[in-house]
């Protein structure tokens, strides 16, 4: 595994790099230093618009910009981009299907010390309910860059979920495609479907279990919507059980999406690893992962548990 980088940082780098190739503008709500859109701002000051701490206006203004044929990226923390501005995303962007790209950073509990108010564990659930919204939750820096470029080339609203904590690169260049999941490790006993931050932990769990003779398939679902149902249902059919892993509420996110797809097509046991129905708290990233039972060891334990009942 290569050097670690937070997906928010990869996002800022991608915007700055792709700014040479594509015509788009970037908006932020006073968080450019944290969302890393500041990297773009430094290179293209005339294409960067700070909107101040007013996320609702930022999203609707971006919608107005999009009507004129200019592509805007809007960035804030997920809590404010998807939470505070939910209604603007739904009514100004989603309903008219405008070409607005939302780069939402600091998603999930790996925000860490800022605590519950800033740990958005609901954004995937909120965004999934918006018809026509493409939702991408990249696993690493490589996938983030590819997702940003794919979003630029896609006509319509895209929500990209990004993290604050550094993650190793687990995907290969050229592997990302909107709507396509990736098998990162073959296996026949059970499948772990993971997204975002949890993907590298799922791969670690796979290694540990392989040593015990348990064969775990690991699927990276970067595109939460539209979901790669075909890949997931094939895994259900071939391995007979699925565990989902996400740094998001177990309600409404990847776990729900996978359970919906599997139960309607090929019902097998689906067990969800994610943030239980509770709020986060302040703590370091490792402390938060332990507190929410989102560690590699938790995935290993869940695999044994599900296999014992299989």
């Amino acid at each position: 595994m290569a050097e670690k980088m937070a997906t928010r940082e990869a996002y800022g780098n991608a915007l700055a790099e792709l700014g040479d190739k594509y015509d788009f503008v970037v908006m932020d709500a006073d968080l450019a230093a944290a969302t890393k859109t500041g990297t773009f701002k430094k290179k293209f000051p005339n294409r960067f618009f700070d909107c101040g701490i007013a996320e609702g206006n930022m999203v609707s203004a971006a919608a107005g910009i999009a009507t004129t044929g200019v592509v805007p990226f809007v960035s804030s923390f997920a809590m404010f981009a998807a939470g505070r501005a939910y209604e603007q995303v739904r009514n100004s962007v989603g309903y008219p299907h405008l070409n607005v790209k939302i780069g939402a950073t600091h998603a999930g509990i790996t925000v860490g010390e800022d605590g519950a108010t800033h740990q958005c564990n609901e954004d995937l659930a909120l965004m999934r309910t918006i018809p026509g919204m493409v939702i991408i939750n990249p696993a690493d820096a490589q996938e983030t860059r590819a997702a940003v470029e794919a979003a630029i080339n896609y006509q319509g609203p895209v929500y990209i979920r990004l993290g604050r904590a550094a993650v190793p690169t687990v995907t290969e260049e050229g592997s990302f495609q909107i709507g396509k999941g990736l098998v990162l490790g073959e296996g026949k006993d059970i499948t772990v479907v993971a997204t975002g931050y949890m993907v590298h932990l799922a791969l670690e769990a796979r290694e540990i279990l392989a040593a015990e003779g348990i064969s775990v398939r690991v699927i990276n679902i970067a595109t939460i919507k539209p979901l790669d149902t075909e890949l997931i249902v094939a895994a259900a059919r071939e391995t007979g059980a699925i565990i989902t892993a996400e740094e998001h509420s177990i309600i409404g996110g990847l776990g729900s999406a996978v359970a919906e797809a599997v139960s309607e097509t090929c019902p097998v046991p689906v067990s969800r690893i994610g943030v239980p129905d509770c709020y986060g708290r302040s703590g370091t990233v490792p402390a938060m992962l332990e507190y929410m039972h989102l560690t590699t060891a938790d995935i290993v334990a869940r695999v044994r548990e599900v296999l014992a009942k299989k």
């Binding site: 007013a54 609702g56 203004a61 009507t67 004129t68 200019v70 603007q88 100004s92 008219p96």
Partner: protein, 276 residues
């Protein structure tokens, strides 16, 4: 303004008011009160002020209009039909399941609608975004919007006010339809948003106050707005909710109610008489 032009504009505004009544009557729901209060402003915008072409409604160089108070869509639809964007007969399909005329403006469905609106406060931000894009692209189109007075209770209106002033959007002109009434009663009693003039001045806008039913005052304000550099213009338009239909005027009950058969006949008769 010469008498001939005034007469022409009055005729158009009357037709638009008739369109509002036709639409809401056939829909058996909708918002006639606040639609009638903005009919004169819409008339002037679409027939005198704005550079638009109904044959080319997506022309990138066109001026834009955003009805931030989206519930008064019947007035916008009647104006667009009068201007030739779609047949006037469509107005009777308002709010019907197979109609392109949604209860609130839908830019994907209706020719001439530049922005989807309806949720209050969102439209003015979108209009500011369009104006910012014109600055970014060095395009010379202008952007017009109409806000409701009740709508100005939405916090997002003031976020947009800051944004438009901060980016010196002198290509943005907004009207505030000050008819003094909202669903639950007088705006001063429900949640007083006044004084609008001092507030928008403090937010860095150029502010003009006019009578919303005087074409001469509307024309003068829009001409003045074109001379303003470095700031957006807010035209506070003192209006009469339900203007043109005696029993609807200044009646809060006509915010979101359709006329019945008898009221419909009387409203049309009054409007046709007014235009003669």
């Amino acid at each position: 303004m010469d008498a001939k032009k005034l007469e022409k504009l009055a005729d158009l505004a009357r037709n638009i008011r008739v369109g509002v009544i036709e639409g809401t009557y056939h829909a058996k729901s909708g918002h006639p009160g606040g639609s009638l209060s903005i009919a004169d402003i819409l008339t002037y915008l679409y027939f005198e002020e704005m550079n638009v072409d109904p044959k080319n409604p997506k022309d990138p160089a066109r001026d834009r209009f955003v009805l931030s108070k989206g519930h008064t869509a019947p007035a916008l639809y009647a104006t667009l039909a009068e201007r030739g964007y779609f047949p006037k007969s469509d107005l009777a399909t308002l709010r019907k399941i197979d109609s392109h005329l949604q209860g609130h403006p839908d830019m994907k469905g209706t020719p001439g609608v530049d922005m989807t609106t309806g949720s209050l406060g969102l439209g003015i931000s979108a209009a500011a975004g369009m104006a910012l894009s014109a600055k970014y692209k060095n395009a010379d189109y202008r952007v017009y919007a109409i806000l409701g007075d009740g709508e100005s209770e939405e916090g997002q209106v003031w976020e947009a006010a800051m944004f438009a002033a901060h980016y010196k959007l002198d290509n943005l002109v907004a009207f505030l339809d000050l008819n003094g009434l909202q669903i639950d009663g007088k705006i001063t009693e429900v949640m007083n948003p006044m004084p609008h003039d001092e507030k928008f001045l403090a937010f860095g806008w150029h502010v003009i106050t006019i009578n919303a039913h005087s074409f001469e005052e509307i024309a003068a304000a829009l001409a003045e707005a074109r001379t303003v550099k470095g700031k957006p213009t807010m035209i506070i338009a003192n209006s009469v909710k339900g203007k043109g239909v005696s029993f609807m005027e200044n009646q809060v009950g006509w915010h979101g109610k359709a006329p019945n058969d008898e009221e419909y006949k009387q409203a049309i008769a009054e409007l046709m008489g007014e235009g003669k």
